[in-house]
């Protein structure tokens, strides 16, 4: 696989630097003015690639200003890597153009599908964990990494239903994809917790087995708890990946345990719906930063 080298002109405004092992926040247009005037001490910002696939205008002006001041992570939501169809070459070309324009420190996408026969569903849909799907996902990731000329990071999904065709466990599937394609993993701890509750397995066990040496970033977000029954308390608990509130306490606990084992990792707070005022989102990022800093302190104390 090619090295993380961008073959662009010498005068590119942005240098290639690694992701800081700090907390970051999902960038929202409503927060840009506050961020630029306050210049908060935050590790990085992450954007959904598809929101910046227009030619120009305010979105690019804002992202450019942010990128001049902060590290950037590019997160795709529309590539349909888990889909049956070949990857959309035009979409891949748009991703490449964005990657070259902003030189993000990291590019990630989802283990999911979102398009079928040209229709785009704007949702992350579940894949079967079987051998044909695994071969296809590896081929798709090979193609992404070849076109972008860089390693990509694949995010574990939040799921509500399982596919009867699955013959292996989600984590074995992800680990195998990563080993074969060389892609890194993006560990979304909120997704792990949601899927664990929804499917009746143990989030702790999943995280204990997760190949953290392959993780390049962590995602944290809020979820909503829905009664699977008719609201009368008789149904199964169903967690929905809503990204519309603060990170749940239980997810913070799991996060601290992961950091204790893995050491500091770039950590994103996602808050995409019911977006709060900027200070509220910043406070969530500071909470993650405090956990990262505490770990660093413990390491120093042990070493010193």
């Amino acid at each position: 696989m090619p090295d993380k080298v961008h073959r662009t002109e010498v005068s590119h405004p942005f240098s290639c630097a690694p992701m800081p092992r700090r907390a970051g926040a999902g960038l929202k247009a409503a927060h840009v003015a506050d961020i630029l005037s306050q210049m908060p001490d935050i590790g990085f910002f992450e954007v959904h690639a598809e929101n910046y696939m227009g030619a120009g205008g305010p979105p690019h002006a804002q992202l450019h200003a942010i990128r001049e001041r902060y590290a950037l992570s590019l997160h795709g939501v529309g590539l349909s890597i888990g889909g049956e169809a070949p990857l959309d070459r035009a979409h891949l070309a748009r991703l490449k153009a964005l990657d070259e324009r902003y030189r993000p420190a990291l590019f990630s996408e989802h283990l999911a599908w979102s398009s079928h026969e040209g229709t785009y569903f704007n949702d992350l849909l579940p894949v079967a964990y079987d051998q044909p799907t695994l071969d296809r996902v590896v081929a798709h990731i090979d193609e992404v990494q070849e076109v972008l000329g860089r390693q990509m990071f694949l995010e574990n999904p939040s799921t509500y239903v399982s596919l009867a065709r699955s013959t292996m466990d989600e984590l074995d599937f992800l680990t195998e994809v990563s080993a074969r394609s060389g892609c890194g993993l993006l560990l979304d701890i909120n997704n792990v917790y949601i899927s664990a509750i929804n499917h009746g397995w143990s989030a702790r066990d999943y995280l204990d087995r997760f190949p953290l040496e392959r993780a390049g970033e962590i995602h944290l977000a809020g979820h909503v708890c829905d009664d699977d029954g008719k609201g009368n308390g008789t149904g199964q608990t169903l967690l929905i990946d809503a990204h519309d509130r603060a990170v749940a306490d239980v997810v913070w606990v799991l996060y601290a345990q992961v950091i204790e084992r893995a050491g500091p990792l770039p950590t994103l707070i996602e808050w995409d719906n019911e977006v709060p005022e900027w200070p509220v989102l910043l406070a969530e990022a500071e909470k993650a930063d405090a956990i990262l800093a505490r770990h660093a302190e413990v390491c120093r104390a042990v070493a010193g």
Partner: protein, 281 residues
């Protein structure tokens, strides 16, 4: 290389996401299960809901005037129908909703509001201008450097953001009243006909109400006509409609102030001849 697909599970899942058949809508597609014995239909409904609600919300952001005119409950129901009938064909949702104005025009329950489609067209033009490529507009003094006898032969290179929306209804007034945070001070009359010029020479989209003959003038210029030909079109249109005189000087002032063009087409061609194609940035 195409991968062998062992069954059509994805197709069944995809079809079930957007079905309007009430019986199918209440059943999960085959091949799904929940490990904890939960109801797969109920779980699948999360995806059905995500798809439609998220796309409706994309259009709520893109069509705020239509949202305000219809009210949120009606908008959600109507756009839900649009989304199921015309789902996106690209993961880039900045362009989603191009077919929405036509859908409004052809939606029988809204026959009494025939101007909605044009208001939606103006909102679409606004979004297209917002996301268009960046470019600098022709400076306002550009025409001062042109010899008077050459003026009428000039052709212009449109700025990438420039859009023209013509209507038999008062779309600019309706658009402005319903995209302003202020409550409506007085009802806006729909009839009367208004044309809009949408531009974005910097980072701010501007919507201008065009004077008589202005739309015919800009339509001609945008199609590559010379200034003289466009002026004729403006005069001709004003004469046909009888809505007043076409004022060429005032309309040229609007054109320059709005930043509708990024250069002189002829000048561009000559420069290209002399120096070869401009290097791409």
């Amino acid at each position: 290389m195409p991968w062998p697909v062992d069954d059509d599970a994805e197709a069944a899942f995809a079809a079930a996401l957007l079905t309007t058949d009430p019986e199918q809508a209440d059943r999960a597609p085959g091949g799904l299960f929940t490990a904890d014995g939960g109801d797969a239909t109920r779980r699948f409904r999360v995806h059905r809901n995500n798809v439609v609600v998220s796309l409706v919300e994309v259009l709520m952001v893109a069509f705020p005037a239509i949202l305000r005119l219809l009210g949120e409950a009606y908008f959600r129901a109507l756009v839900g129908e649009f989304v199921r009938a015309h789902p996106p064909r690209s993961p880039v949702l900045l362009d989603y909703g191009d077919g929405f104005p036509d859908f409004l025009d052809a939606f029988p329950p809204l026959d009494h509001y025939p101007w909605l489609g044009d208001v939606a067209r103006l909102e679409r033009a606004w979004s297209q201008a917002y996301h268009a490529a960046d470019s600098t507009a022709l400076p306002p003094d550009a025409l001062g450097r042109v010899a008077p006898d050459a003026l009428m032969t000039l052709r212009f290179d449109p700025h990438p953001a420039t859009r023209l929306v013509r209507s038999r209804y008062r779309v600019v007034s309706i658009f402005r009243a319903n995209r302003s945070p202020e409550p409506l001070s007085e009802p806006v009359r729909a009839d009367g006909g208004e044309d809009a010029l949408v531009t974005r020479p910097g980072l701010t989209v501007a919507v201008r109400l065009l004077p008589t003959g202005g739309a015919a003038f800009f339509a001609a210029l945008l199609a590559g006509a010379s200034l003289g030909e466009a002026a004729q079109a403006g005069h001709g249109d004003a004469g046909r409609t009888g809505a007043g005189d076409f004022d060429l000087t005032a309309t040229i002032a609007v054109m320059l102030e709005a930043g509708a063009f990024q250069g002189l087409a002829d000048e561009l061609q000559e420069n290209t001849k002399r120096t070869g194609p401009a290097p791409s940035k």
